[in-house]
């Protein structure tokens, strides 16, 4: 209790512990004043012109714009315990932003059927122009009053834009309604790259064979659909979050980051790291697939197998010291391989006038592996580490392993199977401090599931219907940072008592042990996401019909994971709040 009527009893949950804590929800609800005003204009105009003397030729011009303007503030009073205001008392923060997205798209399309040779041609050629621009500013300062006369102010502005220009062509050729060939080629230009590297050429080819249409299949009644697909294509990636990675430029510092030259404090000018040779990342995909249907499509589905290789991977990597203006550089480095298979099946066991049942099932399997990461090929390269100074580096992207694999110390357990605080296997064999040292860590599991399963069903009887959808994820692992953040020495800190997560009674750790693999759990799960029932009233009055429905979302989760929710984006679980279970009653009327 700090004597403040607004905060008494609520703000003992201060946002201490750096990046670990979940923000105080009462504080966020009661004292945060976070408002923004957004105006948005979306415009789209399309011209479609049929060339009079060539009826098969059509011209299309599409112009679109999307403009957003926002102004707002995010303020906290001086009583706020929030860490975000530190080292301020209270905070006043104003911001403005403008977002422009403009598009121009022009193409010619030529379609012609040539019945003499059982062929059909559909050809398109055109170009598109896109402009993305963002600009904005912010001004943040503390609330100056008698008790706090000294406050920090911070302001910043930014403008950033990029252009994408593409020339493209596509040819669809259909022979005999059975053989389909699609060829495309794109020449994409991005302003993000330096002259000479701006353009990338991306071809693709796809072939489909409608086997069912063949004479030998026509009479096979049991098979209602059968189609084989083959594809190969190259795509380009330039969406790297930095609009000027290739340009040599200097950046001015914001207030509070000045240095005196000639006795006057001046903003400093820093050369930014840049790669004049940066270019498009290229992904080559090969896939083979089969679509099938049996018994009038009462059983249908598809199987796909793919191999995707990404080269010239755009990544921020550690570079040799002294070679550029930072320790890391956004550049083309490395290769990545994804292999996988997808299978889907749709069943219609009941299809009658008054009653129907649809069942859908799908399974996907994917493995990813980094095959190259550095400009030099050092087999001992530790990889790109993720984490922070307070909780340690716990994930790594390394050659030969899946991206974002956990990178931790191997916990030593006592005779009862309880973890021994701070004791880890000396994997390097070098002795010394094992705790937290990267040389003693090992790669243990990763956050991505090996297999994803989906299952859904819909049943209808007369006016009544019932639907459910479920999912399962197998082989996804989670690092439970809520558990890792609990320790006895955290119970009393900064002058008051803190609640600790109940995991503490398992670990009994006096100090937090963030780099222990003890906190990585198998988070495979089965979830019943959605369950709904509805009833339709026809011809209620005269011409009116109505539907009443009841839906439950997040119905059920079955998992061995001890945290609140096994679905954790990125794999580091900081979550204190359960996912809400939602009950919805819906009534809709229509005339």
């Amino acid at each position: 209790m700090d004597g403040n009527p607004l905060s008494d009893g609520y703000f003992q949950w201060g946002n201490y512990g750096a990046n670990l804590g979940t923000p105080n929800p009462v504080e966020q609800l009661m004292v945060a004043d976070n408002k923004s005003n957004v105006k948005r204009v979306i415009g789209n105009i399309q011209f479609n012109y049929k060339i009079p003397f060539i009826p098969e030729l059509r011209a299309n011009l599409n112009l679109a714009t999307d403009y957003t303007e926002s102004t707002g503030h995010n303020n906290r009073p001086t009583t706020s315990p929030s860490r975000i205001t530190s080292p301020l008392w209270g905070r006043l923060s104003d911001y403005n932003g403008k977002n422009y997205n403009d598009l121009l798209d022009f193409y010619l399309n030529y379609t012609k059927g040539i019945s003499q040779i059982k062929s059909r041609i559909d050809a398109t050629a055109g170009y598109s122009w896109q402009h993305f621009k963002r600009e904005g500013d912010s001004y943040t300062r503390g609330i100056v009053d008698a008790a706090h006369p000294y406050q920090k102010t911070d302001s910043s502005t930014f403008i950033t834009e990029n252009y994408l220009v593409s020339f493209f062509g596509r040819l669809n050729y259909t022979f005999s309604d059975r053989y389909l060939l699609t060829l495309t080629v794109r020449e994409d230009g991005s302003s993000r790259f330096a002259k000479g590297n701006q353009w990338g050429l991306f071809p693709s080819a796809a072939f489909a064979w409608k086997i069912k249409e063949e004479s030998f299949m026509k009479n096979v009644k049991a098979v209602s659909d059968l189609k084989l697909r083959l594809g190969w294509g190259v795509t380009g990636q330039q969406d790297i979050g930095n609009d000027y990675p290739a340009q040599a430029k200097y950046r001015s510092s914001s207030p509070g980051n000045y240095y005196p030259i000639g006795g006057v404090f001046l903003p400093t000018l820093r050369p930014d790291a840049y790669d004049p040779d940066i270019k498009w990342e290229e992904t080559t995909t090969q896939n083979i697939g089969l679509d099938f249907g049996f018994m009038d499509d009462r059983i249908s589905g598809s199987i796909d197998v793919y191999n995707r290789v990404t080269d010239n991977l755009l990544n921020t990597v550690t570079i040799p010291s002294g070679s550029n203006f930072s320790n890391t550089l956004l550049t083309n480095v490395g290769s990545l391989e994804n292999k996988g298979a997808e299978f889907s099946l749709n069943l219609i066991p009941i299809s009658q006038k008054d009653m129907s049942l649809n069942i859908g099932f799908n399974v996907t399997y994917n493995v990813n592996k980094i095959t190259k990461l550095l400009t030099s090929d050092d087999p001992d390269y530790i990889g790109i580490l993720y984490g922070d100074a307070f909780t340690g580096q716990k994930q790594v992207t390394r050659v030969g392993y899946p991206a974002y694999s956990y990178f931790l110390n191997k916990q030593v357990y006592d005779a009862n199977g309880s973890p021994i605080e701070g004791m880890y296997v000396d994997l390097s064999g070098k002795g010394g401090t094992v705790n937290g040292d990267n040389a003693d860590k090992y790669i243990y599991k990763n956050p991505v599931a090996d297999v994803l399963l989906g299952f859904s069903a819909r049943f209808a009887y007369k006016n009544f219907d019932l639907a459910a959808s479920t999912r399962a994820s197998i082989g996804n692992y989670v690092y439970n940072q809520v558990a890792a953040g609990a320790s006895y020495d955290q119970m009393w800190a900064n002058g008051y008592w803190h609640n600790q997560a109940t995991y503490l009674s398992d670990t009994k750790f006096v100090k937090r042990q963030f780099t222990s693999d003890y906190f990585v759990d198998n988070a495979s799960f089965f979830k019943l996401d959605n369950l709904s029932a509805g009833y339709n009233f026809d011809n209620l009055f005269d011409k009116m019909s109505a539907r009443i429905s009841f839906t439950v979302q997040n119905v059920l989760t079955i998992t061995n994971y001890k945290g609140i929710d096994p679905e954790v984006a990125g794999g580091i679980d900081n979550n204190f709040y359960p996912r809400p279970r939602t009950f919805m009653l819906g009534i809709s009327l229509s005339y």
Partner: protein, 537 residues
Amino acid sequence: MNKNKIIFGILLSTLMMTSCVKDLDVKPQDPNTIMAGNLGDDPVYMKQTLGKIYASFILSGQGSNGGDDITASDGNFFTTSRALWNVQEITTDEAICAWGDVGIADLNTQTWSAQNPFLTALYQRLSLSITYANDFIKFTNGNTDPAVVQYNAEARFLRALAYSYSMDLFGNPPFTTDADGVGKFYPKQIERAKLFNYIVSELKSIESKLGEPRFSYPQADKASAWMLLARVYLNAQVYTGTAKWDSCKIYADKVIGSGKYSLATNYRQNFSADNGKTNPEMIFALEQDGVNTQGYVGTTFIIESSSDAVYIRAEDFHGLTSNTNWNGNRARKQFMNVLVDTIATYGNVPVPANDPLFAKSKDKRVFLKMKKSMDIPSASSSGDYGIGVYKFTAKNTDGTQAANYNPAFASTDFPIFRYADAFLMRAEASYRLGNIANAVADINVIRTRAYGNATGNITAAQLNDKFLLDERGREFYYEAQRRTDLVRFGQFTDGTYKWQWKGGTFNGAATSKHLNIFPIPGDEVSANPNIKQNPGY
């Protein structure tokens, strides 16, 4: 009619395509960004790019306009000022840090590896300061404007300073000069002895081009170069195998002979908010200012990491009231005995509990406070154990509030070269050259200031290796010099001097000699095939 329409359409499309393609040559419009080609447009840009080289030693980066200079898991943690302080202090008897952050415990116990994040960041940041300097030197080479010639020399001084740290800490760093470009290449490694020669020749070559002593604090001047020359010569035997005591003395003489400096009457002024421009003793320091040069770095870090909520409250001791009392660093018991000389002060009995601030000590350089116990029960135990240090403060020497006061950031500059060092370096050189009388005289200049009178002065009979090393500890503790001094006196690793938790044991143990040089970071060895790891790692 239709034909005309089509022709018009084709013309329009061609025009659009051409202009669209030209759009790809985009230039940044951000007002905070200046293209490399426009650097010559305004003379102030030159001062600002020079300012950046200085700032790169102390601050984390450009603030909200451009973020940190390096990619690291924390901006402030991994600045040069903080990482340098850590690797020079908590690896020694002077300090031990209580925090559990990765890499701290390894430094405390001399069990670091090539993966240590502080070593990695320091290595990368020193190289980055050199790269910034190379860029500036290249840009200003050939410019005959006297002001620019001087800026160019300052940048060369800063490059030599960064190289001197790399040479001292890592031995054999990558070597680039203004002749190298920027992009993707593998810099060559340079041997320690060759780097020594390069640093010396650079400093001698810029000596005449730098400003006169104190021409514009905190910019580097002639005396800064003399001090750096004296310091590298002082350690020449470590770097090259050949001692250069005479050369060390020559440059210490130049500083003292310049007549531009004097010792601050009050030793504490060197560690107070008014330790810069108005301090006659400060030769070169990194500027810190509560308003203009902010960050949890440099002296703010030293002050806050050494404060705690019970024994040394930053609010009371230092006038810092925001985000205070990080409770990390404190001194080890063995260093207390060096500084306080407890046997002389208290006799052969434990220091009485009613004198936690060592008030009986006659040496006025003692800014220590007893905590829960003088012994530190484990290498990473709470900051409440050990000997608290409050030498640096955010207040003025007289206890008043600093100009440009800020409750979170000290305005106390981070000292690199103090005038006192010229005396102690010259004393050591004279002692090694056999001129004991001169050595004693220089030491007594420092002792007289420390005691306020001649009662602390020593005689030639009292002077020996141990006394010199101890006296440097007493004068320069917590100023990021200790490791270098211990290495030079052969006591950092395998010597006879052991302190609590050295080598990971309570009573301290000798460690392997290869630890006198830090490892090249694993990140660097992986990224640059030209770089060989240091022996023993």
